[in-house]
Structures are given as C-alpha cells and as structure tokens.
Amino acid sequence: MAKGIRDKVAIIGMGCSRFGERWDCGPEELILEAFKEALADAGITRDEIEMAWLGLFYQEQSAGKSALPLSLSLRLNNIPVTRVENMCATGTEALRGAVYAVAAGACDIALAVGVEKLKDTGYAGLPERTKGTFDDLWLPNATAPGAFAQLASAYAAKHRVDMQDLKRAMAHISVKSHANGSLNPKAHLRRTITEEEALNAGMVAYPLGLMDCCGVSDGAACAIVTSVEKAREMGLKDMVTVKAMQLAPSNGFEMSNTGWDGSYLHTTRVAAQRAYAEAGVTDPRRQINMMEVHDCFSVTELVVMEDLGISPEGGAIKDVMDGVFDKDGAIPCQIDGGLKCFGHPIGASGLRMAYEMYLQLLGRAGDRQLKHPSLGLTHNLGGHPFRNVASVSVFGLHSA
C-alpha cells in the first residue's frame, strides 16, 4: 500500500519574480528572475539540476509549447524537461512533477518553474480561448468572473443569506488581502482598500464587482527540490518538506448531474480530504496554521474555507467577519496578498503560493512574518466551478 509523499521531499530553494504588468519583461526574463533567486537560495549550480518541469498555461500567447521555453531560456544541459498544463493548478502541477520524480528516486535534484506572460494580449482580463470544437457549439462563452459569480448566487440561495451580507463578507476578504499585499514588495497591487471601496466598485459579473476580482499580471516562480536524505547530506537541519500534494479533476458530476447545487467546489472537497490523509492532518482548523487558497474571486476564497473543512458548512461568512483569516487571526489566509494582489499568471500561481509558505515556515517573510507557523496549505482551482481541476498541497517544517 503506497504511503504517499509525506516528508520524502524537501524544498531547498525557491524564487519568485516581482508580479505585475511587466511591460519590460518577456517570459524568459521572468523565468530568470525567479530562477536566480532559487538557485542562490539552494546554494547549488545550474548543472546540478537533473530534471525539470515547466508550468505554462497559455502557450499560444505566452512562451510557446513544449519543454523548449524553459530549456532554451535557461540553457539547461539537455536534461529532461516536461511542460505541464492543468489550468489554474498548472504551477502546482509543475511542482508535483518535480516532487514525484525525487520521491520516485528518478533523480536527486529537480526544478519546477511556473511562468505566465499575460500582459501581451492587448487588453485587461484573461485572453479568450476556445473550449474545443464540440463545446464551442453549446457552452456559454463564459468569463472567469461570470462563472465564479454563480458560486455567490447559489451560495446565497442555499444558505438563505442576504446578498448584501455575503457581499460584505466578500469585501472583508478583499480588504484583508489588499492589506497583506501592501506589505509585500513582490505583489502587483500594493494599495490598501476600504470596505466601502470594495462594495461600491463597478459590477463585473453580478454579484462580483471589480474589487472582488484578482488582478491580471505577469510573473514566474520556481522551486528546487531534493530528497530529505540528500538535503540532510547538504547540511540542512530544519527544512521545509512536502506533506501532501493532491489533485482532483471534475468528472462531470457538477455540470451534468443535478446532485450539485452550484454553491460549493466539489473537487476541492475531494482533494482536501486526500491531502489531509496524506499529510496526517485530522483536524485542519486546529492543525493548519496558514493558507494560500485560490482567491481568483473573493467569493471563491469564502466558499473554499468550507470546502477545505476549515469553516463549518454555511459558517464561512461568520469566520470571515470574525477575522479568523486576517493577518492576526487564527488561520491567516493570503498572507502574501493572494491572487487578489499578485494577480494570476496562471502557470506561476501555484508555485507563488508555495513560495510564501516556504518563506513563512523558514521565518523569512519580513514584515508579514507570522509567529512560528509549522504547517501551511495551498489550494488551486483551475477552470470554472462547474468543471475544474482542484489541487490541495500541504507544506511543513521537518526536523532532520
């Protein structure tokens, strides 16, 4: 019986570019910015990397297909490079590839890079993409805010919540993330906002206003991983290890069957339960110290608190308003500013989240440092609530 990857793989170096409208940078520059930091952090040379994974979503208008964008831009030594794409979980998938390779013993040191160049499309928001030839014939040409806005309409209806109360909790989430992001020099949006500003922002997709939506940014992040044994050999004592990495894609249940009411994220629930089992977490609300969840929209963060088993069902609004997820709350969420302030360069986001967990666990988060966190969770949700790919990962301190 397989036991999973808990404490088999250590992260020995991480890097993250500054996120934002990087008119000055193409994907190669963004990759290098993150990579240089990770390499210095790990204290290794480029030639020690044996395998690599590249997370990149929009190859059409970003860096291109295949291993080449990474292999060429870093002039890697013809090592195996695999490009992965799993919608918004793409960055996390790159990391999972590297982690699994190390855990399998296929190599000692592996690299995971996530990058996305979104600001060469000529407009704000995510580029239009085709959904495949058959889907084009019948599926709505939905936008991400429109798809996620429906979580709010269904959640409010299910829990009989007044939309104004839900909107206020959503505003609290955005205000909190902006406050966190204002302390982070790598964040794209560094301005604090007020609840009033969030509530009065222009409507994007009912009931989501502009301040309920994350930014659109360019960015890259990367991780260098090795086995716990190898890390020990390299002289590391307190190290960050991967406790769990789980993935759950939709199988059609949400979209094609009436069993789903549209108010929650089914795949997140599945991935979370698997991740907790892999990580040995039995009481997430007490054991998890901090989280970076997929706050593409404020309502997503709210709903995810229940799907991760942190808040009781129907109880997320109360927890949000009680400040449980604020910087000084019991389980700070999006302590780096989240997608809200970093934007969502799709291939990079999962690794950007892991980067913050890594810094916090090692006590290197500067102005935003939390008090002695030992277990952090990251979550991605790729696609739309009605069909998506969810990932839940747990990272923690490991004493060798």
Binding site: E128, F134, M255, S256
Partner: protein, 478 residues
C-alpha cells in the same frame, strides 16, 4: 378523417421599439416620420432570425399534436442561408425524422399564401407544416423601418380532424413592382403608396378573391372575417372593391407588432383563429406581385384546441428596447465597439457539428438505460452510475428547467449586455450550464423556471456562418 388545417401557431419576438423612439431619433432626416409615430413594432433579438422565429411558431403549432409532419415548408424573403436548407435546420430543431421532406419557399411576400393555395388544391396523404417567417430590416428613417415587424406563423395541413377546411383557393400573378429587394441588397425599394393602392391592391386582390369565392361556391356576403395584411386605410379601398363590409377586416396588428412580410397573412389568420367560432368563413388574402385568396371554414374542432395556440400570448409578452441605437445595433445596423473580446474567432468545426448535429440542433442528450439519469451532453459513460455506452437519445428542448445559479456578466461579449448564463436543472437529473436569452438584467433568480428556445448561439462574420443552439428563456409566453 378529413383534409384541412389541423393546427395553427404563431410567434412574435419579445423586443419592441416604440415608433416614437424611431421618429425622435430620425425626424431630423425625415420629419414625416412623426406622423407614423404611433404604437410599437416587434423586432427580433440579435439571436433570432427567420429560422428561429419559424421554429417557435412551429412549436406553438405542434403543441398537443402527437405526430411530427411529413413535410416542412418554410416561406420567407429573409432566409439566413441562400444555400443550406433552412427548413432542414427547422426540421432538426423540431426533431423530425430524416425522411421528412423539407422545402424552402422564397422570393415573394406571397410565398406562404401561394403555398397554402397549392396545398388547398392538392390534398394528399402527407401532413405539411407550412411555416412563414420574416425578419426584414429597413434603412434608418425609412417608412419601412417604422412599419415593419418581425414574426412567424405556422399551419399544419393534412388528413385528420381539421379545425378549418380550405373551401376555395386562388392565385393571381401580376408583375407589378410595388416593392422589391434585389438578391444582393439589404433593403426593400418601395414605390409610391397611392399607386400601389389604386393599381395594385384595389385591382389585383378582387381578381384572386373572386376566383377563390367561386371555387368555394360562396358569395362575399357569406364571409365572416377578412384577413388582409395591410393597413386599415388600404383595407377600406379593398373592402369597397370586393364589396365587403370593412368591419369584417380583422385588426392587422400593425399598432403592436408591425408588418411581418411573408408571415403576415398567416400570423393574422392565426390571430383570427384564436377567437373564431365553428362555421366561420374566413377570407385570407396575400399580396405582392399579384394576390392570393383563400376561403376557409372553421369546424367545431377549433374550440377544443384554439386556446393553446396563436400570437396573443407572444404579443402580450414584451420587452421595450430603451434606445433607438440599441435597436440598430441588435439588427446589425450600427457597428458598436464591443472591445477585443468581440474579436473571438467563431469558426465552426463542421465535421464536429455534423457528428453531434442532433445534440446541438435538437438538444438531444442521453438517458442512461441503467440508472435512468438524463444528461446533456450525451456521453459514452454515464455521469451518475458510470456505466459505459448505456445512453439513449432524448431531447431536453421541451423540458422546463429551474435556475440553480446564474450571473449577469458585463465582461463577456454579447450583442445585448449583460451576458446572462447559469446552471439549469432539468427533470431526471440533467444539469447544464447554458446561455440565457430574453431576460432583462435583474430578472433571473435562483429558482426561476425557464423554457428552452432555439436561437443563434454565435455568428462567424468572417465566414458568414451562424450556429444555433437552445437557450433558457422566461417561462411566460409559452
């Protein structure tokens, strides 16, 4: 069993523009428009055309009818395709069998009445669904822009229990160019009204009427109602010319709908049949490069079915367009900057469409024969029980749905923002994310009941193609 008209139906789109709004916007160019600024006209939403209007009229006509027709005839001067069977699209939307004969009738505002004359003269064993739809656009500030409407009507003709019998029918051909539209142009060219009235209506209509009455063996004095697709002013002259009481001419629906071209005579007939009693003799007139006339007689069967059909419900269901510029834009008369999202390439993979054409045009999903779960789209593996290759074709187009979640999206491109879409639940487990239509902002709620309507899903302006699918619409009006 007898041969005759077995059922009737009609459809008028929801959108209305007050004629005053047109006059206010365009009187600077044509002050005479102010004199026409009475009432409102119906017009097709951006996702409606003569095919979709005809489908709705057909559904209205076939409500309560057990059998699908053997043949479909679609009459229109505004068929969206010059080469692709328009009636074939209608047949698939109506889930008609492949052996159904489909025929497009065009080239004249009399296309529908002439077809009805032919059906009257050639009774056969096969049932015919005769559809008429028109969606004529007009040059801004023209009289036609004020007077035209968009709509459709349907008659089911064949052997069975008729609601009306065709007692007499006649066509009179005369190449009087009162108005015309060249094949490669957008707009009608219309000649002087007085000339058309005096030389056209007053002289040509009586010839067709006389022939039809003679065939029916009736005198004009025995007619109870006259269906005449023109204004009351024109009707007065024709009444005099055929020696009929002008009060027998029914309301031409110009004040609240407009002149729907090829569809107008059948639309007015459907309107008459909504209130006719058994034994009524109805004279139906079609006009345009000649005239058609039909004498119908209603039967007692009409009373059993008439409440379920006709245009009244659609005329009552209206959504007023707030601005003339919006009307122009929805009719593609004004090029609005909808931003880069509107640049999306909507090329259709025709081979993929062909494989799944029934799924798309008929909204055919699958019902699992093992667990009875209905699902859309149909798939190889049941979404509920996981069994493979168990699904049988079943359409969701006639089902009523319930909104589970929705949004009004101001970011996504649509010709009529906001883009409203959401998750809709159907009976027996089916659940589907769908684009909505005909809802105003603020109108959809979680729990709203919806009915499915056949509409244009996307345009491909680059390749002059349009594709169709089904959308949830407000339940009222059905």
């Amino acid at each position: 069993m007898a041969y005759g008209i077995l059922s009737f139906g009609a459809y008028v789109p929801t959108l209305r523009i007050p004629r005053k709004a047109i006059a206010e916007a365009m009187a600077w160019a044509s002050p005479a428009l102010k004199g026409l600024a009475k009432g409102e006209r119906a017009f097709a939403n951006w996702d409606e055309d003569s095919i979709t209007l005809a489908v709705e009229a057909a559904r209205d006509c076939l409500r309560g009818v057990a059998e699908r027709p053997d043949q479909i005839q679609l009459a229109s001067t505004t068929l969206p395709f010059a080469d692709r069977s328009n009636s074939g699209v209608v047949a698939d939307a109506l889930l008609c069998a492949e052996r159904t004969t489909t025929e497009d009738l065009a080239g004249s505002r009399r296309a529908a009445t002439s077809a009805l004359v032919r059906l009257g003269h050639n009774p056969g064993p096969r049932s015919t669904l005769l559809l008429a739809a028109d969606c004529r656009d007009a040059r801004p500030a023209s009289v036609q822009e004020m007077n035209y409407g968009h709509g459709a009507a349907a008659l089911l003709v064949g052997q069975g229990e008729p609601i009306a019998l065709i007692k007499g029918a006649a066509s009179w051909h005369d190449d009087m160019v009162d108005q015309y539209r060249a094949a490669d142009t957008d707009y009608d060219y219309v000649l002087e009204e007085r000339w058309i009235r005096e030389e056209g209506y007053n002289k040509l209509v009586p010839k067709a009427v006389a022939a039809a009455l003679a065939e029916a063996g009736l005198d004009i004095g025995e007619i109870h109602r006259v269906v005449f697709p023109a204004s009351s002013a024109t009707a007065k002259g024709v009444a005099k010319a055929i020696r009929a009481n002008p009060d027998l001419f029914i309301d031409p629906l110009l004040a609240n709908c407009g002149d729907c071209g090829t569809a107008q005579p059948l639309l007015l007939l459907a309107h008459a049949l909504e209130t006719a009693v058994a034994g009524e003799k109805i004279l139906v007139i079609g006009f345009g490069q000649g005239a058609d006339a039909l004498v119908l007689e209603t039967t007692p069967r009409l009373a059993e079915v008439q409440s379920a059909h006709g245009p009244a419900a659609y005329i009552a269901q209206r959504r007023v367009c707030p601005a003339y510029t919006q009307f122009l834009s929805l009719r593609s008369r004004l090029e609005v900057d909808f931003g880069l999202r509107a640049e999306r390439d909507n090329r259709t993979a025709q081979s993929a469409f062909y494989r799944r054409r029934k799924d798309i045009t008929g909204m055919v999903g699958g019902r699992c024969t093992r667990c009875n779960t209905l699902q859309y789209p149909r798939s190889q593996v049941c979404v509920k029980c996981g069994e493979m290759e168990t699904q049988q074709d079943e359409s969701l187009s006639a089902l009523q749905g319930r909104v589970k979640s929705y949004t009004e999206d101001w970011l996504a491109y649509t010709p009529l923002p906001p883009y409203i879409y959401g998750n809709v639940e159907f009976p027996d487990g089916a659940n589907c994310m769908l684009e909505f239509t005909d809802f105003a902002p603020g109108e959809v709620k979680v729990g709203s009941s919806v009915r499915m309507v056949f509409r244009i899903k996307d345009f491909d302006p680059k390749r002059h193609f349009r594709r169709y699918f089904w959308k949830p619409a407000p339940l009222s009006g059905a």
